[in-house]
């Protein structure tokens, strides 16, 4: 269960949101919506623990994530704006390193399966620099296939640069995660049919505080 308590975030002079409180139960998906600059990415980074809120707390199963630290991050899979994909490594090396870093090393055939699941079969030994933007995005998303033990997925614009089949494959992955009782928090501007129970949270860009 992911819970926020009286969350407030200020970036520079601008108050992005305040008194934000919500609870996400296992099996639920939270779709964070709002125009550019409304604070969607900041909220997601706060939920990850990458960014400290100016006020308030994020709780996982009742405990503050700032106290849980590694115990919380072990359960978390995050795909941000940046793919975390190395240009000089092959698709396979990228996936296997990401898995080892997350603390669940993947054998080569498991990593190949993950790449096949995101439609990159046949590109395993291509260096990422020779792949397209969408294909790199798929390498990042292959992490999710390996992160099935992660109870919480936080995805920032995961559908960006994906083609129709990629979008469908990712929707399936998200659906499976929710069926397992996992939690998914995501932002997207695309009108993607999300499976399962989706809650929507609207953030509104606020003018600079006087």
């Amino acid at each position: 269960m992911l819970e926020t308590v009286d969350l407030e975030c200020q970036r520079g002079e601008r108050l992005l949101f305040s008194e934000l409180a919500f609870v996400i139960e296992p099996g639920q998906c939270l779709h964070v919506a709002g125009e550019n600059g409304a604070g969607k990415t900041s909220l997601l980074r706060i939920l990850c623990g990458l960014l400290s809120p100016t006020h308030g707390e994020v709780h996982w199963s009742g405990a503050d994530i700032r106290r849980l630290r590694e115990d919380y991050w072990q359960l978390l899979a995050y795909v941000g704006h940046l793919n975390g994909v190395k240009d000089d490594l092959t698709a396979l090396e990228n996936v296997r390193f990401a898995a080892a870093l997350a603390g669940h090393p993947a054998e080569e055939d498991v990593a190949r399966d993950a790449l096949a699941a995101v439609g990159l079969a046949g590109f395993e030994t291509s260096q990422a620099r020779f792949l397209s933007q969408g294909q790199r995005r798929r390498i990042a998303l292959a992490r999710l296939f390996l992160a099935r033990t992660a109870k919480l997925w936080i995805l920032d614009e995961p559908f960006t640069a994906l083609d129709v089949r990629g979008v469908a494959a990712l929707s399936t992955l998200i659906g499976e995660q929710l069926d397992r009782g996992g939690i998914v928090v995501l932002t997207t501007h695309q009108d993607v049919p999300l499976p399962g129970r989706v809650r929507r949270l609207d953030l509104h860009a606020q003018p600079v505080a006087a």
Partner: protein, 222 residues
């Protein structure tokens, strides 16, 4: 934890092997600086023999600083650093692995090359031995202390200048004891004290620096 540590070291070495120009750049800089000195100072062999330890150590120090920029910059730019921070493993472990890989691609080649440069300056054999020993013991501290500076200045404009300003004062003890050890043996004294201090600096840095680097990286990512 050891699996993650090994994975990070292996990946950084693999990346270094695929971007050989970066590694060669540091080593080449070191060699060029040291070989330029006789041309500037003149070929008086006794003078050269006296200044050799200091010259090698100063060049090693500058080469280390030159290589610091790229320690975290690429991981920061492509988002791998975020994944490292959010890894279920302790960040200091990941950071220590990166520092080890950095040392293997800068400190170690510099140490090996110092043997040849010592011969070039006509250092006696025991002085060359102590020079190598001092570099082996001292350069890990350069990588670790430098990584703190690199982490603090990550993502800042003009970070390169800041790293130099931040890190150079902290490098001074390493330089003094490193060059001092070789000068001691050249002067007929035992270099043991300086070498022990160098080793102590490196061990201290190994224990403490990863926490400082991890904290600095978290701040840089905010």
């Amino acid at each position: 934890m050891t699996a993650t540590f090994a994975a990070v070291v292996r990946r950084d070495l693999l990346l270094a092997a695929r971007q050989r120009a970066d590694v060669a750049n540091t080593l080449l800089f070191f060699i060029v600086v040291v070989t330029m000195v006789p041309l500037g100072v003149g070929p008086e062999i006794n003078t050269l023999r006296t200044i050799a330890p200091g010259v090698v150590w100063v060049a090693a120090l500058l080469a280390a600083i030159l290589s610091l920029n790229r320690l975290f910059a690429a991981d920061f730019a492509d988002g791998t650093l975020e994944q490292m921070v959010l890894s279920g493993e302790p960040l200091p472990v990941v950071v220590l692995a990166k520092a080890l890989a950095h040392w293997l691609t800068t400190g170690l080649p510099i140490t090996v090359m110092a043997v040849l440069l010592g011969v070039m300056f006509d250092l006696p054999r025991d002085a060359i031995g102590v020079l190598v020993a001092s570099l082996v013991l001292g350069t890990p501290a350069l990588s670790l202390i430098g990584a703190i500076g690199a982490a603090l200045t990550l993502g800042l404009r003009g970070g390169g200048v800041l790293i130099t300003l931040l890190v150079l004062p902290l490098y001074v003890p390493v330089l003094i004891f490193g060059a001092g050890a070789v000068e001691a043996v050249a002067g007929g004294l035992a270099p043991r004290g300086q070498l022990l201090l160098l080793g102590g600096l490196s061990i201290g840095a190994t224990v403490l620096a990863p926490w400082a680097i991890a904290a600095a990286l978290r701040i840089s990512l905010e």
